[in-house]
Symmetry: C2
Subunit: 345 residues, 2 copies
Amino acid sequence: MPKKVTAAEVAEVAGVSRTTVSFVLNNVPGMRISEETRTRVIEAAHKLGYHPDATARRMVSGKTSVIGFVLRQSPDQVFADHFLPQVLSGLSQYASSEGYYTLFAPIPLDDNSDGYTRLVRERHVDGIVLSGPRSDDEELPKIHAEGAHIVLVGQLPSLDIPSIDVDNVGGAKQAIQHLLSLGHRRIAMITNAPLAYTASADRRAGYRQALEEAGLAYDANLVRMGDFTPQSGYRAMSELLALRPLPEAVFVASDTVALGAMQAIRQTDLRIPQDLALIGFDDIPLDEYVDPPLTTIHLPAFGLGWGAAEMLIRLISGEEIRTRQVYLDTELVVRDSCGANQNKS
Amino acid sequence: MPKKVTAAEVAEVAGVSRTTVSFVLNNVPGMRISEETRTRVIEAAHKLGYHPDATARRMVSGKTSVIGFVLRQSPDQVFADHFLPQVLSGLSQYASSEGYYTLFAPIPLDDNSDGYTRLVRERHVDGIVLSGPRSDDEELPKIHAEGAHIVLVGQLPSLDIPSIDVDNVGGAKQAIQHLLSLGHRRIAMITNAPLAYTASADRRAGYRQALEEAGLAYDANLVRMGDFTPQSGYRAMSELLALRPLPEAVFVASDTVALGAMQAIRQTDLRIPQDLALIGFDDIPLDEYVDPPLTTIHLPAFGLGWGAAEMLIRLISGEEIRTRQVYLDTELVVRDSCGANQNKS
DNA sequence: CTGTTAGCGCTTTCAA
DNA sequence: TTGAAAGCGCTAACAG
């Protein structure tokens, strides 16, 4: 056990009072201390291997300099979360640039309430970023009312909590516009999830808007439901493949679901993109390595984490937040599954 | 701002002393307190919305109940880390079961030293799990000598720090044995990385051992170097495909690298697994969705996190650690790329 | 059974 | 310029 060196010991060795030690080491402004005392203190601290105790410091400062990242997902979901590393990177990178540490707290949904609320109520953290908020979360409104600093990654229209999310409508429009620009007109869609999820509903809305802006009618028969998994994509695509005439292109609102769709297509004579163009959504790491590499809409996961941390720390610092609901832009990533690269190569 | 309710206020409302409040709320053993006082205190606490301040508690208990998870990787690497969600899940799940929180601290390698050492020296955490330790890390031996509680995920033979790692030799042997059991004899290998990495050297050692145990000679010409990326796998496989006679099977010591190898094979007339069997290593999520689904060796990422947390908390609690260097078993995951499922379907 | 009291290590007025 | 002293909110000996 390393016996902790206290400021008092440093003071003694340097022959000054603890106060002086504190002033010197923290470089307190207004205080003008003789150069000699200063070096004496610094040397003593160095020699003794002194490091101020974070807990004691928190005690008096009243702030922890830690933000919590709360994940409202089941362990299985955390497992399969392609974006966790990126969101977490963005979050902790920004936090660290502002002198904050990041507490990682995955709290399963069934672990009702008190799991993550303790984080803020017992002041383990100065505030939290809550990913995947649930509208049936009864504790959230409470701690919000208690004045806890919270930023949501996702949506929860019922509550007036600052949030950050992806512009799903805009992203879907980008996808459709790309398809349109390549001359496709009969464009089908497979959703990423049931429409009860706002992300899913928004992506379909973007699909529809882009179509209508191009003077094309929305045909419900061309829209099939995906359900997070490749299996659901396989099924949905099989249905689409039974249609006559065939769609010319398919917008799959999730790359994971698109993987299954590709498998269904592979079992036919159809070739991607020559006979059927395919565009995904999310830009998961493997897109580059499937055959053909999947054109998709990039989800700014790093930005989500970064932005959430930025908003939260602003909140904690008591600064004003300009926009309480932030939407991040997506980006079209052109690879080979839509045929846009045909002439280039 | 929620004005914090202190134990003193609870005491006042309940008409007792702070001590009693503390005893009741913490359910201190030996203390026998009248049922009536007890309920009075509990009710007062509840009514006031009292939550003990974690910082104050740490101050006196001397422990933070937080463990740090330090990632010695560049942001790019964190990004591409397929296993982070799993390791982190395992770690935080075990930690939480023992009443610990997890502090996530990615510290780039170039951010020399003092980055993560502060975590332990300033007592932000009770100990750390260090993932991806570097032998050129000069601070690590120091804080270890200072008595910090540390568990390594990976290897660092030069230091006597408890560590946990995957049994890479055993895993590679499993892969080769599977190939052998399917009748393959001329088995090539593509490494996952340069041999300077212990994981890479160990996997090649396992390949060699399995071969020799089966009475087969090790042929250096059948071994090519991968370098983390699919591109490197593509290149290495291209070299292998130029060999005559062709290998019957290839063990690629990384699924990511195997992705590139598959692409190289796809450009020939060879079919997997009929003409060439392929087995990977790692079991990344996308293995199921490539064509054909990749047979591989499962890396117990969740177990790595779980086990590291277990060792660390044992260390913190002052318990004895039976094995200081733990090796986790891998597992063969049979899919379609080796032909083992031929007869089944 | 319950209250008094003394800190944990640090920051920070207020005096000297 | 520097030092003395007052807490931050809580726990835990030690009395009563």
